[in-house]
Symmetry: C2
Subunit: 669 residues, 2 copies
């Protein structure tokens, strides 16, 4: 930690006004003081390594140079992961922490090409391989002797995986599968690391045996020679080109021209192709859910929460040191954090980060429970887990993208500079609105579950899903008198969600009765359906937060500030969707003023704790990686220092002057 005397005076003052013990909240958020200690040790082990330092920051490199630098660092990172395990005798899944704490992105400012090797290639081998296949492949992948990617999406198909076109045709004569890419749109497109960083891939393809189409299956395919790295015969590989962000992820394309692989390289845990080509489906298709759900859980847990934490830490600290204009003439310039409009931008982001933090915790625990149940053959709670992962991923990433943008804009022009790190956090966050299930599609998947459950409940059955128990009583709740308390507001969210689901059901019924087909009726109700899913998600998130406050043991001071934040986020979300609450909840027009007042009052109450709150997120300066957000608040010195790292600032005159400008100017005299 930097010496106290070097810390910006405004920030130092802010830290003295904080009403609660920052370390206590940090420990709570981590899950205990011991976890905080381990996390700090972990982060320092990885980030205090000078071999990750850049001579020139990544944003000044060419696309190709950036890739080369990424590979250099990735190899160091993977070696360090092994070293950490050995040194600390740590058998946990280290990569999960790398991801959760944002170490990979701290090193490259972006996702790295071998993410997919760890988060998808390896889990697929484990999840879909037979015991023999696992013993052959998993140790090689685990030790990084081979590097793999997961090739599902194609140029022409992302969302609708049944439409994938890559084929795998079994040839019983040679006991091989023959892989082909029959069209340009069948080219695999997007897999991370596929461009130049992997020699293996799990490939999803339409299986044909005995002349019969057997649906999508997964195959292990070697794509590059391990000695020369040259693509194997019949295989076309490249990277997909420059993107909005995540350019070090090396997303690639892949096409097959009669590529043969042995029979045993189809992953056969769930279905079997015999030597003669006979096909046998062995297990429940719903088990496929599990793996898809896992990545969505990770997105909510790591990406949504972490990127909101980072952005709002940067913006709040900057707003404490930035002084601009005067609230009162005669006084000195005001900290921009004292402007009501600035508080209104930033404090709800703090609250948003926390409510998703707790919701992600619920989701993570639910995932563990359901995984155990699945292992015991119990599929009962899988649809609920799936539905909640879908809407939390969709609403969470959308809220995170908006939150990060709000933080960036709240930093004015300086937020537009890459040295603030806010642009980079944004591109990373918004990418997750699309990948691993496009958000609108996910909301409609949740909606299917909601509609189904709603109809079940209406016929008198009870729901087995605790997240949907409100369907039984949301109309009764409307009879209560409004008070602007957390409990009352949380209840209003359920009233809105329930009413919206009811309205969707009615709309579809009405359309079908008027002669529209079921499928068209669904499409014609889909705007409303996505809104119903969103309302359900928000009601759930608020409820989880409320329950945390009701069941955890905090100090009085922390309870107070967490209550302030809870009231703030409820008030904000209600005001932003006021029409819904006026139509569908016990909120009356005469109560609106009290909500607006509550909102403004929360901003005032949170003001002295704003810096303390972001400090409690305890993000290492190297992870923030921001000139505006560092713990010491020496913003202007850092901005200037970073600017001077631009290669253009190494020479007083760029060569383009002699080459182009000078002749141009002369010609104009």
């Amino acid at each position: 930690m930097i010496e106290q005397r070097k810390i910006n005076g405004d920030l130092r003052k802010e830290r003295t006004t904080c009403t609660f013990d920052v370390e206590e909240l940090t420990n709570y958020l981590d899950g205990g003081a011991e976890v905080t200690r381990k996390r700090r040790k972990f982060v320092n082990f990885f980030l205090n390594d000078s071999s990750f330092k850049n001579d020139v920051p990544g944003e000044y490199l060419s696309h190709q140079e950036l890739y080369e630098e990424t590979i250099r660092k990735v190899c160091i990172l993977f070696d360090k992961i092994k070293k950490w395990s050995i040194l600390n005798n740590d058998t946990d899944d280290i990569y999960l922490y790398i991801w959760q704490y944002g170490i990979d992105t701290a090193i490259m400012k972006q996702n790295i090409p071998l993410d997919v090797h760890v988060t998808m290639f390896l889990p697929t081998l484990i999840g879909q391989g037979t015991p023999e296949q696992q013993s052959e492949w998993v140790p090689r992948a685990l030790s990084n002797e081979i590097l793999g990617t997961y090739a599902q999406t194609e140029l022409g198909h992302g969302t609708f995986i049944r439409g994938l076109e890559t084929t795998s045709t079994y040839d019983s004569a040679t006991e091989e599968f023959i892989l082909n890419s029959p069209t340009l749109t069948s080219y695999k497109w997007w897999p991370g690391g596929l461009g130049h960083s992997c020699n293996y891939a799990v490939v999803l393809a339409q299986l044909y045996t005995q002349g019969i189409h057997r649906g999508l299956h997964s195959f292990i395919v070697q794509i590059r020679d391990s000695e020369t790295w040259i693509p194997l015969p019949g295989i076309k590989i490249g990277e997909i080109g420059s993107k909005f962000g995540m350019n070090s992820a090396n997303n690639g394309y892949l096409a097959f021209d009669n590529v043969r692989i042995p029979r045993k390289q189809m992953l056969m845990k769930n279905s079997l192709v015999h030597k003669n080509g006979a096909y046998e489906k062995s297990s429940h298709e719903k088990l496929m859910y599990g793996a898809m759900v896992f990545v969505r859980v990770l997105i909510v847990r790591s990406l949504v929460t972490h990127n909101l934490f980072k952005s709002v830490t940067i913006a709040v600290r900057y707003s404490a040191i930035r002084r601009q204009s005067k609230l009162k003439s005669g006084n000195s310039e005001s900290q921009i954090l004292d402007y009501q409009t600035q508080q209104y931008k930033l404090f709800p982001v703090i609250a948003t980060a926390l409510v998703y933090k707790f919701a992600a915790q619920w989701l993570w625990e639910k995932y563990s429970t359901v995984t155990s149940e699945l292992a015991a053959g119990d599929l009962k709670h899988l649809p609920e887990l799936h539905a909640m992962a879908c809407c939390l991923k969709a609403v969470g990433t959308a809220d995170a993208a908006i939150g990060v943008t709000t933080c960036r804009l709240a930093c004015g022009g300086h937020g537009f500079m890459n040295s603030s790190n806010l642009p980079n956090i944004y591109t990373q966050t918004t990418a997750a609105e699309t990948y691993e299930g496009e958000n609108t599609v996910l909301l409609l998947q949740t909606a299917r579950f909601l509609m189904k459950t709603y109809r079940t409940v209406k016929t008198g059955s009870f729901s087995t899903s605790t997240t949907l128990s409100y369907m039984e009583n949301y109309n009764d709740l409307k009879k209560r008198r409004w008070t602007s308390t957390l409990e009352c507001m949380a209840s209003a969210f359920y009233q809105v969600a329930g009413s919206k689901i009811e309205d969707c059901n009615l709309t579809i019924k009405r359309l079908v009765n008027s002669g529209v087909t079921q499928e068209d009726a669904w499409n014609q109700t889909s705007i409303k359906l996505t809104h119903a899913s969103e309302a359900h998600c928000r009601a759930f998130v608020i409820d989880v937060y409320l329950k945390i406050l009701q069941t955890s043991t905090f100090s009085t001071e922390i309870m107070k500030v967490l209550t302030d934040l809870g009231e703030l986020i409820c008030a904000c979300w209600i005001i932003n969707r006021l029409g819904d609450f006026l139509q569908f909840s016990n909120l009356k027009p005469c109560d609106v003023q009290s909500i607006q007042y509550l909102l403004e009052d929360c901003l005032k109450r949170i003001r002295p704790n704003a810096v303390g709150l972001v400090d409690s997120f305890d993000i290492h300066d190297n992870i923030l990686d921001s000139t505006l957000g560092c713990y010491d608040g020496n913003v202007y010195e850092r901005i200037f220092e970073e600017a001077n790292k631009s290669p253009l600032n190494k020479e007083p005159v760029n060569r383009s002057f002699e080459l182009y400008l000078k002749p141009f100017l002369k010609s104009n005299i």
Copy 2:
């Protein structure tokens, strides 16, 4: 134009379903068939020039290479501008067209370093120079014999220009000004082209003469030697480093250490420093408004409208050729444009683009009128112009940023690729939310005008501003019965705006009565004040659109589709702020269903015209610069072709394999 047979079948079909004459609408939007003809000639003249072609697309270059390539192209562009003027005997302000049609961004994908030379340096010389100064400097700037930038913003101050710290102290002994940058925060920061592309700057500094502080004034300062381009003694220059976008703009920093310039290099049209240091203020400060307003008018007219046109053209065409999943089992995959949720994302963006197009036209005409009035010494309408430019810039750029993002997300993963051009359009658009007046600050400026006018009207006086005449009758309008017609909805927007302004006035009054100071009361009402400004802006924009429909002569078919779009945008904006309309307008809860129905019905009505509408925006393929948006719809071929331009795809194996990956893999066996 590309031959018909090469056009994607889906797009070809879409074009046959269009109900109106695309060329008629194009001509209307241009301002007549003659303007369309000239625009096309102009665009072709600039864009059909192979010297603007890239060997390697800009996104693969390093920061420095990108800059050098930019300067090469800028010199060609400026030569071509002269050539056009001569060839066509065209005395118009050519650069305005370059900007309006997006030619500069088409050439570099980004703003160019000499934008500021034309849009700010030159106008400031003209606007603030005496006739003698003008005759000395303007011809040299106009012929590009010297290249200038406009240095106002500093590292520590953007919004609050009175806080700028650069000093200019008059030394009557030598009849010179001495420029100094007393602190790091006083460094000029952000001026476009300042980094390495200009040898002159207009510098804003705090003037001191005879030991007295005289406030901010403008000075012409040479910053680089014209022969060697080396920064002059006492001058420190560099670029500010990498940014979210607009990296070819070469934004720079600048500091002075006792730099002396002759007395005649202070721009003295509005105030004078005599040889002996005596200071004389000659004219009205409000005249400074004019120049600031001009750039905001340009932003609404060019950037907001044009970037929405481009984005929605790309997204609609892509959605017509992209097929994904099936609306009806058994059928072939559906065009994603047939999904209600996709229509709900895109069609409102078409409407948004058009309403701002018309509002910008109003603003442009208002600007011309007020400029003439100013020349005649009449300042009456300046505050209204200023207030409208502020809120239209703020709400327009915010809506544009959201619209562009919506289009990008609607294109799924492919929208994230830079070859879609959507990321680049976004960074350009969102930058305008901050520059030339941060949006929240601008909304509060409009709010000041609204509050002042409101109080005037309440005391019985009439407003001289036609945009505010609704303040006299918004409460009466609430008595009318709701019908979901354009007229009724437009009136509701005024009811909401008026009521929100009234509420702000009441809130401030109440606070002041309770003992809060006027200044604190303003701050504590500022969330509401920004919302009131926004409501005013939307009411105005809708009203302009309605008046265009009422007063222009369109064919029946075009009138129909423009009415569809008008109803759609009203319905969308009402639903998005339903709470406001339920509280403050004649809309009753029982009317809400009819608005939702209208919205959905508009989507259906617009569906057959979607491609026709974006075709009518008539954006040249080279300006769209998008693999997803080209007129012919050959999306997948273009994506693949662009991907292969990546330098990483020029070799089968990147050098990082031998350098890093191979040793790493070997060590893991």
